[in-house]
Structures are given as structure tokens and as C-alpha cells.
């Protein structure tokens, strides 16, 4: 599926996290996602953007709008060059955190989207891709 529209946003400050939420909200609304689905993808975006900032030492997110004859959706790719995740299965467990959060960022975001992919290399960084279909 071709991305109809792509934009990249920086995630370097907590203000950037707010901008990510707002842009994702606007794009999801433009695509015609229901209010509940908009809220889910924006919430997931907020969690993952915060992870990029807090654990990945900052990075960026690419926002892609997906559209063809059969499906419409929004794809978000979060990338950082941080320390990477040592044990992905453990990191995906509800309540597990290496910081001082609630440990719901990764596991909770996964429940809020249709597709969730995580690719992390120690010492290189982490890439998390999520999609919410209309």
C-alpha cells in the first residue's frame, strides 16, 4: 500500500510530545476515523512519543496516511538512537518499567492499535511501528 502523505516530526522535548498528539489527532480526523479510534491512536502516540523521549533519549516519528480502494489507516513509526531494549518480551509486560512510569506504555499502546511492530538493537536504537485502520 502506498503512503498518500508522509511527514516527520521531531521528539526532543515534552512540548514535542504535545505536537505529536495534535498532528496525529488532526490526520486521524481527516482520514475519517471514528472519535474512539482517533482517541486510541492519539493515546498510543502519546505513550510511544514519551518513551522515545524518556528511554530513547529523543528521536522522531514518521506519520503516514495509508489509503487504497479497500483500506484507510494511519501509520506511525517512532525511531530513536537510544540504548535499545534488552528484553522486548519483558518490556511488553504490563506493569514492567525500567523508569518510574506505570509500565503501561508499550503493552497498553499495543492494545490500542491494530498492528504493532517493535525492532530494537542494543546500543543502536529502537523502532516501533503502529497502524490503526479505519
Amino acid at each position: 500500500m502506498d503512503a498518500q502523505h508522509t511527514e516527520t516530526l521531531p521528539i526532543q522535548t515534552s512540548g514535542d510530545v504535545v505536537v505529536v498528539r495534535q498532528v496525529v489527532r488532526t490526520r486521524a480526523a481527516e482520514l475519517g476515523l471514528s472519535l474512539v479510534d482517533q482517541t486510541k491512536i492519539v493515546t498510543a502516540a502519546s505513550e510511544l512519543a514519551r518513551n522515545t523521549l524518556d528511554y530513547g533519549r529523543g528521536g522522531q516519528v514518521r506519520v503516514e496516511l495509508l489509503k487504497n480502494e479497500s483500506r484507510t489507516g494511519i501509520k506511525l513509526i517512532f525511531e530513536d538512537n537510544g540504548p535499545g531494549i534488552k528484553d522486548i518480551a519483558l518490556a511488553m509486560t504490563d506493569g514492567y518499567t525500567t523508569g518510574n512510569g506505570l509500565g503501561l506504555g508499550l503493552s497498553g499502546s499495543k492494545r490500542l492499535v491494530n498492528d504493532f511492530e517493535i525492532d530494537s538493537r542494543l546500543g543502536e536504537g529502537t523502532r516501533i511501528t503502529i497502524v490503526r485502520w479505519k
Binding site: Q22, T43, L102, S107
Partner: protein
């Protein structure tokens, strides 16, 4: 630095969150409210989140922290005005906001606060 205003109405404090809060602003609100409860001798805190488009785990934790801190300081907390889509998302995210009392709107929230104070012994009217 910008701040979320805290209004005092008699023995209650009223906070209406009308901006998309970044994390430091949420933490500042938590600190400000705790100080204000003590300073004003407040018996209740009402937090209106009807303008919030999302509540993520950070904001959820802030609400739970405020409720826990105010409880220790002998003040009740009621969160009002959560949008249905926000409630659905919160539950799927895995946050149940245990310990946070909620009401549908400001009016019902104030009723709940007054009822809570009426039934507690604590610093009763002389």
C-alpha cells in the same frame, strides 16, 4: 513557566484543565494542588477534565497521585467530565484509576464532594 489555575470556592478547590498538558505542566499542577490544599485548608478538590481529548498513562498517574496526596491531607478528590471515548481508551490502555472518585459533570461532582464532607467526622463544623 505556564501554570494551570487553581480556583478556591469556599472549602473546595476547583481545577479546570483546558490545555493539552505537557508532562512538566502536569507535574507542576500536582505540586501546586498539594501546596494549595494545605495553604487553603481545603476539604475537597474538583478536577474538570471535560476539555481533555486524551488521558494517557502519565496524566492518569497524575490524577491518581493527586487523589492519593489529597486523601492523606484530609481532602477528597473528584474527577469530572471525562469524555466517553477517553474512558474507553483508558480501560483498554490498562488504567483503571483505582482510588480516583469520578462524577459525570461539575454539578454532580460538587454534590459528591459536599456529601463526602457531610458524612466525615474529621474537622466538622463547630
Amino acid at each position: 513557566m505556564e501554570r494551570i489555575p487553581i480556583l478556591q470556592m469556599g472549602e473546595f478547590l476547583l481545577v479546570t484543565i483546558q490545555v493539552d498538558m505537557h508532562d512538566r505542566l502536569a507535574l507542576a499542577l500536582q505540586d501546586d494542588l498539594t501546596s494549595k490544599i494545605v495553604q487553603a485548608g481545603a476539604r475537597g478538590v474538583l478536577i474538570d477534565i471535560s476539555s481533555l481529548e486524551i488521558v494517557d498513562s502519565f496524566i492518569g498517574r497524575m490524577l491518581a497521585n493527586i487523589a492519593a496526596m489529597s486523601h492523606i491531607l484530609d481532602a477528597a478528590t473528584v474527577v469530572v467530565g471525562m469524555k466517553p471515548a477517553v474512558a474507553i481508551t483508558l480501560v483498554e490502555l490498562g488504567l483503571s484509576l483505582t482510588g480516583v472518585r469520578t462524577a459525570l459533570n461539575v454539578e454532580k461532582g460538587m454534590e459528591l464532594l459536599r456529601a463526602t464532607r457531610g458524612h466525615s467526622s474529621g474537622r466538622a463544623a463547630y
